[in-house]
């Protein structure tokens, strides 16, 4: 069944300051939506709030995935309901190997007694790592510990591939990647495109969208989606920057929640 994801009137605060001021967005399986915008406009907050980061408090709105409101759920329940967030700054966890962690994550979605077999898991993981041109030793490395920026991003994509989510949010997956790594990561994402799965790609730059072609492009400013369009919108932003959007909408300061 194709995923159906509807965000309505989402408002969120951090330390009492409102960052998201009413986000509305509809996505279906098979679609790729890009969220673009300058720094400080609330893009990453949207990603974190949807996943349930404890720093953010959702004050209003819903985010319904296949009939269930994710915002009513704990973080792990959202993940098991099919939401995946590839993070901009993944945590490092010493002493826990990549493979142990991923196997536990997969098994958290399965009934007790129906865990994935070790052999099958290792085969799958090795195959996906090969696609992402990751050294097999990353199986046994501690989770993100001592990984370079690019290695962390690949590891996020690896997790996405293994966990088979319904809705994927990529939060600035392109930051800190050189062009070769960017291509590999983009290929990984493209290989996961399917009529069931939806992607929400958050980025500053149009560059990523040369490799991951969006169906819809949204511009965020001041904690809202202020403009939506097709791929041509991303191209215009790349060519002309964001100033014309601000002029068109009469926005002077596009940021949100920042001290003057």
């Amino acid at each position: 069944m194709a995923a159906d994801f509807v965000i309505e009137g989402l408002k969120a605060t951090i330390e009492g300051k409102e960052i998201l001021k009413g986000i509305n967005l509809q996505m279906k399986g098979g679609e790729i939506h890009a969220i673009m915008g300058p720094n400080g406009t609330g893009k990453s907050t949207l990603a974190s709030a949807l996943m349930g980061h404890p720093k953010y408090e959702v004050t209003e709105g819903t985010a319904v995935l296949d009939g269930e409101d994710l915002l009513e759920m704990a973080v792990d329940e959202r993940a098991r309901a099919g939401l995946f967030l590839a993070m901009q700054y993944p945590s490092e966890i010493a002493g826990v190997t990549n493979s142990d962690f991923l196997r536990s994550a997969i098994n958290s979605r399965r009934e007790e007694g129906n865990e994935i077999s070790l052999i099958r898991f290792i085969r799958q993981m090795e195959a996906k790592m090969k696609e992402l041109e990751m050294n097999p030793e990353f199986l046994h490395r501690y989770l993100n510990e001592g990984f370079s920026g690019g290695e962390k991003k690949r590891n996020e994509i690896l997790q996405m591939m293994m966990l088979d989510p319904k809705i994927v949010i990529l939060d600035e997956i392109d930051s800190g990647l050189d062009i070769d790594a960017l291509k590999i990561v983009a290929e990984g994402v493209n290989s996961m495109r399917s009529p069931e799965r939806g992607f929400l790609v958050i980025t500053h730059y149009q560059r990523l969208l040369n490799y991951i072609k969006p169906d819809f492009v949204h511009v965020m400013m001041q904690g809202r989606i202020v403009k939506s369009g097709g791929p041509e919108l991303a191209e215009r932003l790349e060519a002309e920057g964001y100033e014309w959007v601000k002029e068109e909408l009469g926005i002077e300061d596009e940021t949100v929640g920042q001290e003057a």
Partner: protein, 465 residues
């Protein structure tokens, strides 16, 4: 997230057998009891005298005023000797069935079937079961309980017994020297490398019974041995005392590793003296896990006596509700080019208290010596505490001493990250804790690593939410 409150601090191995002991010494410590213990064991005169002198020493010495709180420890309320059965079994079949059942519950036979070289399991005060692989015997390795060693290897025994930790070392060493019973004795001849670990399983099973085992390991030149000791004790309502003495001698170029996992019931005082002497280019490694007990005071030591000797202590301490782990290590550098490493990991939760207490000492001869100390503490809630108390004594200018200490909590970011992949808060917390102690568990033999992980997981249940 709604969560069912798990039963806290319930002790997994708190079962108790209806085992009948043949002789029990009654409570309290008197000269008669010491004489009686020695007589039952048919000991030579010198050992009786050693015990009696030690008793005198014990009475003279004041209770330590540092470390943990010993106010509730009543020496008159402890039983000093229990002998479970008259005959000591050599094969599994000969072991009394009640005792076997207890071992069954602890998973001993399976463990043995795997890759045990020898099992020497201490049940109450006497070793009742002991087996050893034949090829070790053929190589001249002696692995027996300490009482048997006194009978069968008197010269070796008398030469080294009580020389590394004399009775006057501390009050509890004196107590152990007066009433010791059981423990392991190992001698590894020159050049012999024991490929599989030698293992013993200890277990206290009589109310208010102190367990005073005494272990002596002698590793001759160029030899290697890994000795593994694991402990579980059943739960009782009144205080019990465990006070062991472990002496190890690593002769020139020898290497000894001593691995302990102790999982005491929360009412036990665990006051242990462990010390090794490392001669020229010898290596001594303590791997020491302390879970449970009411109070543990334990500071495995290495006296680096010969040039180039190496010492290491890798320890983990877990303190829960009403528990205090006062643990650490001592490295005494007496010779040039000696090196030592201490890695101490501790976890406190539910109001538990962990103290790292360590000594790095460099004598005048310790030219070019190096010591590296790393203490990491993970505190799981706001009621729990941690202290780091390092003592340094430096009598030589040309030494290197590094000390690093960290105290951390399970971070919100890490929890969020793991949970965002589908792990529950409990599983995510557990994973972070297991990662924290991984430097310890990876040093354990496989089956012990499995047991350790199980114990820690069990200990951590209910630590969050």
């Amino acid at each position: 997230m709604a969560k069912k409150a798990p039963d806290m601090e319930e002790y997994q191995y708190g079962f108790r057998d209806e085992h009948k002991s043949i002789f029990q010494s009654g409570k309290g410590l008197t000269e008669e009891i010491v004489r009686e213990i020695s007589a039952i064991k048919n000991e030579p005169e010198w050992m009786l005298n050693f015990r009696l002198k030690s008793l005198e020493q014990f009475r003279k010495m004041p209770m330590p005023k540092w470390g943990g709180n010993l106010d509730e420890l009543d020496f008159d309320d402890i039983q000093y000797y229990v002998r479970p059965s008259e005959k000591q079994g050599k094969t599994w079949e000969e072991v009394p069935s009640e005792i076997k059942e207890t071992f069954d519950k602890l998973g001993i036979p399976e463990a043995e079937q795997k890759f045990l070289a020898g099992v020497s399991a201490q049940y109450e005060s006497e070793v009742v079961y002991h087996s050893m692989q034949k090829d070790l015997e053929d190589q001249g390795v002696i692995f027996t309980d300490t009482d048997t060693a006194l009978r069968e290897h008197p010269e070796l025994f008398k030469k080294f017994f009580g020389t590394i930790i004399p009775p006057a070392d501390n009050k509890f060493a004196a107590l152990n020297s007066a009433v010791w019973s059981g423990g392991s004795f190992i001698y590894v001849p020159k050049g012999v490398k024991c490929e599989v670990p030698l293992q013993a399983y200890f277990r206290i099973n009589s109310e208010n019974m102190g367990q005073f085992e005494r272990t002596l390991i002698l590793a001759d030149e160029d030899s290697f041995v890994h000795y593994v000791e694991g402990c579980t004790a059943p739960i009782y309502s009144t205080n019990s005392l465990h006070s062991a003495v472990v002496e190890i001698l690593c002769m020139k170029n020898a290497r000894v590793r001593y691995t302990t996992i102790q999982n005491w019931a929360p009412n036990i005082y665990n006051l242990v003296t462990k010390r090794a002497v490392a001669e020229e280019n010898a290596t001594m490694e303590w791997v020491d896990g302390n879970i449970g007990s009411k109070l543990t005071m334990k500071y495995p030591a290495v006296v680096l006596k010969g040039r180039g000797a190496k010492g290491s202590v890798l320890s983990i301490a877990v303190a829960g509700k009403d528990q205090h782990q006062d643990a650490g290590a001592k490295m005494i550098h007496l010779a040039p080019d000696t090196t030592s490493t201490i890695v101490s990991k501790s976890i406190s939760k539910h109001g538990g208290k962990v103290t790292y207490r360590g000594l790095a000492s460099f004598g005048r001869q310790a030219e070019g010596a190096k010591a590296n100390i790393k203490c990491d503490t993970l505190i799981l809630d706001n009621q729990s505490t941690s202290d780091t108390i390092p003592y340094n004594e430096i009598m030589n200018d040309n030494v290197i001493l590094e000390h690093e200490a960290t105290v951390s909590k399970v971070s919100e970011e890490q929890l969020f990250y793991l949970m965002s992949r589908g792990l529950t808060e409990a599983d995510a917390t557990q994973m972070i804790i297991m990662g924290f102690i991984e430097p310890f568990t990876k040093e354990l033999p496989m089956e012990y690593a499995v047991e350790m992980n199980r114990l820690i997981k069990f200990e951590m249940e209910g630590s969050i939410g």
